[in-house]
């Protein structure tokens, strides 16, 4: 059976993803939810909404996380 995919722009790169929700996407990318913060089309998504945030074709998704810094 063919998996439904959609094109998303993640951190500036176009990707074909099967993910339905933002939580699914993080799993698909191999990222732990707790360490990541997300913006979709310029709007911050709070962590408790990751699972209920449904991704649409062409969504621009920015994923960031903390790194060492001064």
């Amino acid at each position: 059976m063919e998996q439904k995919t959609k094109e998303l722009v993640i951190n500036g790169e176009s990707r074909l993803c099967a993910a339905h929700s933002l939580s699914d996407l993080l799993k698909e990318l191999g990222l732990g939810e707790s360490a990541v913060v997300a913006e979709i089309n310029g709007k911050i998504v709070s962590r408790q909404d990751f699972a209920v945030t449904i991704l649409a074709f062409g969504d621009k998704i920015e994923l960031a996380r903390f790194v060492g810094g001064g």
Binding site: N11, L29, A35, V37, R47, L63, R65, F66, G69, G70
Partner: protein
């Protein structure tokens, strides 16, 4: 025996209050440039650190390894910075993203548009501070030690002011000493010296002068032994603070003043002995 170094850090019942949090330790730690982030827990323990800065960066989808938060003890207050922001608007956006990480509402504002000396933009910093303080952030802005910028930050609702001692990462010491002294005298907020301090004596000098705390990153991260250098900075910061509270003795403009009594000297006795001997 490692506990011997802890004693001076804990004797001072002299908490620093920022954003309603009472801090025993006046050494803030930056975590950039650390060769091994696994050292963070040891550094925190050795120096008694309670506040740690981190930066927010895009996830690298080709390298998902490592997570700095996994090395930071949970009792530590996280102070994300807005590094990478070139304008007030970018700093505000980074701060909001950082808060969405769920690690608290403290933010170190950095607005930098100078790739040579990495000097902060005071106007942009004040604008970002005003917006973020209104949104409930505990804002610690990084600035050049300028009295007028510092006053703007007070009015903008900053929780502290963080002037640089020397350009970021330079380890050159307290080069802006006279300007920082003016901030300490004139500004009714904690003055935290951030950037440029290279060895513990620099931090000690800042604390003796009345700085509320020091933020050290490069000097620890680039030391041969970051854990012991952090410990040394912790001791120096605590020593400088203790000296300030103890009230340093006066200094003479010229000449000397004997430490031993000027009366009852043995001169006559020694002369008599010399004659008889």
């Amino acid at each position: 025996m490692d506990n011997s170094a802890q004693a001076p850090l804990q004797t001072a019942e002299d908490p620093l209050f920022i954003g309603g949090v009472g801090l025993k330790s006046r050494l803030f730690l930056g975590t950039g440039k650390l060769g091994r982030e696994e050292l963070i827990p040891e550094i925190v323990a050795a120096a008694g650190v309670q506040v740690i800065t981190v930066a927010l960066r895009r996830v690298d989808l080709s390298d998902k390894s490592g997570n700095v938060l996994s090395h930071i003890p949970v009792h530590v207050q996280l102070l994300p910075n807005t590094s990478g922001a070139r304008t007030a608007e970018e700093a505000v956006r980074i701060a909001r993203l950082a808060r969405a990480c769920g690690t608290g509402n403290w933010i170190k504002i950095e607005v930098i548009n100078d790739s040579v000396n990495l000097l902060p933009d005071g106007y942009g910093t004040a604008k970002a501070t005003e917006i973020l303080a209104k949104e409930g952030f505990v804002v610690l802005p990084y600035i050049n030690p300028d009295l007028y910028v510092a006053r703007d930050l007070v009015n903008a609702g900053a929780a502290a002011v963080m002037p640089l001692g020397a350009p970021i990462g330079s380890n050159r010491g307290l080069r802006t000493k006279e300007m920082i002294r003016i901030l300490i005298e004139e500004i009714d907020l904690p003055i935290i010296v951030d950037a440029g301090l290279g060895v513990p004596s620099h931090a000690c000098e800042a604390m003796e002068m009345g700085a509320a705390a020091c933020l050290i990153n490069t000097a620890i991260a680039t030391a041969s032994d970051p854990v012991h250098m952090a410990e040394a900075f912790g001791l120096a910061v605590a020593a400088g603070r203790a000296a300030l509270l103890a009230g340093p003795g006066r200094s003479l403009v010229a000449g000397a003043s004997a430490s031993s009594p000027e009366t009852g000297k043995l001169t006559a006795f020694l002369e008599a002995n010399a004659a008889s001997g």
